[in-house]
Amino acid sequence: MMAGSLILQTGTRLLLPLLLLFSVFLLLRGHDEPGGGFIAGLVAAMAFALYMFAFDVYKARAILRIDPRNMLGIGLLLATVSGVPALLQGRAYLTSLWWDVEVPLFGELKLSTPLVFDIGVYLVVIGTVLTIVLALAEAEE
């Protein structure tokens, strides 16, 4: 694997947190503006892929901390489970439910099952892309 240049490495160090922050922003605003789990997941995956190109696979895995396959599993679990509360209320699976939660110092927070679902989508997309890309890059070495 090609060793990244110093400029690329430094730039990536700065870019990674920004891109991740941006992806979370895209995820959370996705219900109202362009964005959402798919797009946000692709951005986050791209950020890590960039990091992998700038450094190497092992550094990328290290900064990821969690194995992308686990991320995939957690994402599927979240998306699947987000439909269960509706079942418990006797409604069709995946019917959306909304709660307004008062958080001290923070104000009103809107919690919903579609949000949980979208976080699941986000994690599955990151997990899928990184599982594939990291495995391919590792095979090359």
Partner: protein, 117 residues
């Protein structure tokens, strides 16, 4: 009717080139044909629902419905997942082909017609 006839022709070109590439014996061309094919299919769905300029399916803040007509959101939702999925499938196909190439040792699809290698 806006630009649908233009897209119709473009979709035709994409389908034709994709088909031609998939009829080659080269593995790599098959993969490229696959990419073109998924783009062609997505555009086909996109165009059949009608094209709208400058009216994305978003609702302005504080409103309950969009002002005036907007583009059809349903095909957009379908295509959005289709794009991501076709990436997953493409990755699978590419790796599978790579693996097959390692085993058979040729870029020639005709070499792969036997199940026992």
């Amino acid at each position: 009717m806006t630009a649908e006839p233009l897209l119709a022709i473009l979709v035709g070109v994409l389908f034709a080139t994709a088909t031609y590439l998939m009829l080659r014996r080269s593995l790599v061309k098959l993969v490229i044909g696959l990419i073109l094919l998924s783009n062609a299919a997505n555009l086909l769905i996109f165009a059949t629902s009608g094209l709208t300029r400058g009216a994305p399916p978003l609702i302005p803040e504080g409103m309950l419905t969009p002002e005036g007509p907007v583009a059809d959101p349903l095909p957009q939702a379908l295509i959005l997942t289709a794009i991501v999925i076709s990436f997953g499938v493409l990755a699978f196909a590419v790796v599978l082909i790579h693996r097959a190439y390692e085993v058979v040792g040729a870029d020639d699809l005709d070499e792969m017609k036997d199940t026992d290698t």
